[in-house]
Amino acid sequence: MRKSLAVIMVSLLALSLILGACGPNAEDPKAGEKKTVGGQIVFGLTGNPVTFNPILQTDSPSGQINSRVFSGLVRVNETMELVPDLAESWEFSPDGLTWTFKLREDVVWHDGTPFTAADVKYTYDAIKHPDYTGIRATDFEPIKSVETEGDYKVVLNLENPYAPLLSKLTIGIIPKHIFETTSIKDMKENPACMNPIGTGPYKFVEWQKDQYILLEANPDYYGEGPYIEKVIWKFYGDNQVMLAALEKGDIDYMGAIPPDDVERVQNALADTHEFKVIPQNGYTYIGLKQTDPILKDKLVRQALMYGTNRAQIVQEVLRGYGEVMNANIPQSSWAYAGDELNPYEYNPEKAKELLHQAGWKVGPDGIREKNGQKMDIKILTSTGNRILESALLITQQNWKDLGINAVVEYIEWSVLCAQYLDVAQFQAYALSWGLGVDPDFYLFFHSAAAVDETGKLVGFNDVEFKNAELDELLELGRTEMNQEIRKQIYVDAQKIVNEELPYVFLYRNNSPAAMHKKVKGVVWGATGPLYPEKWWIEE
């Protein structure tokens, strides 16, 4: 996993939609059923949360807990639209530079203090503070200032119109009265980061590290519910053991069941568990350095796309629980370009032809060469992702069949970031992106998000993809506020990406999740079970 961004996005999502969506707008799924109060639900985690402060959070375990303890101004519903949460309503000024949010007046923090606009201002100002060490700073860069009008109105002043911003406001609001006692630099060390006070449906009770986390229902929650009395996360040192715990009945829910285990687990738990496929809002890819002598040729990049048996990866490695990606916006997004993209179906002959066309001829040792240069491609990747490892083994073999000497090198995550990705020094690398709700991908492929004069990476465009037409579309997409027009912009943008190929796009996985049938009222959104405060237990 490409953690930093993946994590921001995944946790953003987790925060707002995988588990957390709540509030008056959500429709009651089965109005006739009688909801019982009480009981408990147990989840499993393999990593410890890092912080229960949503603005510092970078990891998905923290996100799971934070999504229940905190709420943001807006949240995402099951169709991935942004709907009110702490904000009752909002409006944009005609020039798109002033955004006004009207807040709910019936919200109190878990410690009884009323929630006000000052908390919102404090949270956003903290993110914009120079000493802030979290990962949301870029998200909030377009905000010039945050103002409050009375206790229940917040005004955001923007530098320039910036459509994706609304989706960033899913971030949990933190209590000013608790955090203002520490400086922003020391925010991590505030006890509330370990003992959080939020406004969400569940209150934090205790965390025994590597044992369990316990939350209990917040009786003063402003929306419907919660019904389930206790929410518990148990910790496992190993994913395989966590899966065994699901089979044993120690935990009630597990997302991302490894594809190879699905059939067995499904058979074993057919009577007690409900299985649902949860599509990943993200994708796995091989980034290709656009300035590399071999990879700078578009024909070569297209050959790699044709020459990688991505359908087989999805079929065998993911066991069909996944989809081939042809560009960078997944099927679940409203901006997905669908049929308008070239599917690059596996065609080694075509790939060889393209390579030939590009001047790469097979040498005596079976490896292609051009002007005395051998066709060597080194793919860097991080350790620890079994599915990606398998996918790369297949890719490597596919590429070898084309006459390319492909080598995969496994590098420990932080080293991979520090020595290769952050300084944009590599030929090719394979990782995954987790995405946000908004389709904006300026930071990924805009030329201004590549490296600056000093060689420092500005955005996430570490492959240094530069395309004037795309730049223009991405700029437009950010400032345009009309969703229909934005969709067209992003479809066009995807077509460029699909044609020019900054990456070899591989797949996204649609991992099955299992939920115990005793848990009722679960709404399965596009990205997971939603509205946990509305679930109840029927033994």
Binding site: Q240, P258, D260, D261, R264, Q312, I313, Q315, E316, V317, T383, G384, R386, E389, S390, L392, L393, I394, Q396, Q397, V408, E409, Y410, I411, E412, V415
Partner: protein, 303 residues
């Protein structure tokens, strides 16, 4: 049961030859004669010979490439085509285990060699020079020794580039201190013994004494400890693999095959069973051989 005759054995200085034995046999021959008596050690020796044969002839024995994937044929049980079945990506487990013997045995051997080289160098230097040098080297040894070995190993492995060579090196680099102490102790005690005195009286230089007379004699416990260490290094590598810090794909070590297969412990037990048995047999064999050598090299044990 308790042999009164042992007193004789004790007196007899096996290193220096034995005046009481009418036909002096060479040291090597004597060790071998004693070693052969240790049945388990002989079994261990045969197992090791077998394993090393696998490693040496891996290219001839492996029926397929260790890295050739065949996804449609993944997780297939053992058959005539795949003696040990296939793994999660359709690779032939038999071929991987055979090639794995090369990697695992090298990891064990190189790691132990690095440890012995450093241990002997530092231990003998300290003993030879004594005084300041001895003090400094031994303090340094104590410092390294104080660290929890496996944790130190993990720490370093996690910060160096992940390669087979680095893994061997780091396992070796974290396990020399006890050897250094052992060598130094042996040399110091041997230095006081008569044969050293004799050599000195005959005008041998210090260096000559150390290398010709003392070191070979001090090596007995070192050899025993090294033998056991090779097995230990193979196990360490498998633990590293479990923690995601072992030999990287696509290279097969027994530990990495075992670890990759643990996800399929129930549905494809053959992936784990075979490398597991190979690790087990090899480590066991090294331990037996080490045990046999200890007895064979120990001058005090009954003949």
């Amino acid at each position: 049961m308790i042999d009164i005759e042992r007193k004789k054995v004790l007196i007899r200085d096996s290193y220096g030859g034995d005046a009481l034995t009418p036909e002096p046999e060479s040291y090597g021959k004597m060790v071998w004669r004693r070693f052969r008596k240790h049945k388990l050690a002989m079994v261990g020796l045969y197992i090791l010979l077998f394993m090393y044969a696998l490693a040496i002839f891996a290219p001839l024995l492996a029926t397929q490439s260790y890295e050739a994937v065949d996804p449609p044929n993944k997780l297939k049980p053992p058959s005539m085509e795949h003696f040990m079945g296939t793994d999660h990506i359709g690779r032939d487990v038999f071929s991987r285990v055979i090639w794995g013997s090369r990697i695992s045995l090298s990891v064990g051997f190189v790691a132990a060699a690095v440890a012995v080289a450093l241990g002997v160098l530092i231990g003998s230097t300290a003993a030879y020079f004594g005084g300041r040098v001895d003090d400094m080297l031994m303090r340094f040894t104590e410092i390294i020794m104080a660290f929890p070995t496996f944790f130190l190993l993990l720490t370093i492995v996690s910060i160096v580039e992940r390669s087979i060579f680095n893994i061997m090196l780091v396992i070796g680099l974290t396990s020399w201190p006890s050897l250094a102490r052992m060598v130094r102790g042996q040399i110091l005690s041997l230095r006081e013994q008569e044969f050293t005195e004799a050599a000195r009286a005959l005008g041998a230089t210090d260096a000559r004494i150390i290398f010709r007379h003392i070191l070979p004699n001090a090596m007995a416990p070192v050899i025993v400890s090294t033998t056991m260490r090779i097995g230990g290094a193979i196990l360490s590598e498998s633990s590293l693999s479990f923690l995601g810090l072992g030999v990287p794909e696509p290279y097969p070590s027994w530990g990495s095959i075992l670890n990759a297969g643990r996800t399929y412990l129930l549905q494809a037990p053959w992936i784990t069973t075979f490398p597991g048995i190979f690790i087990f047999l090899t480590v066991l064999a090294f331990n037996y051989v080490g045990d046999g050598l200890r007895d064979a090299l120990d001058p005090r044990l009954k003949d």
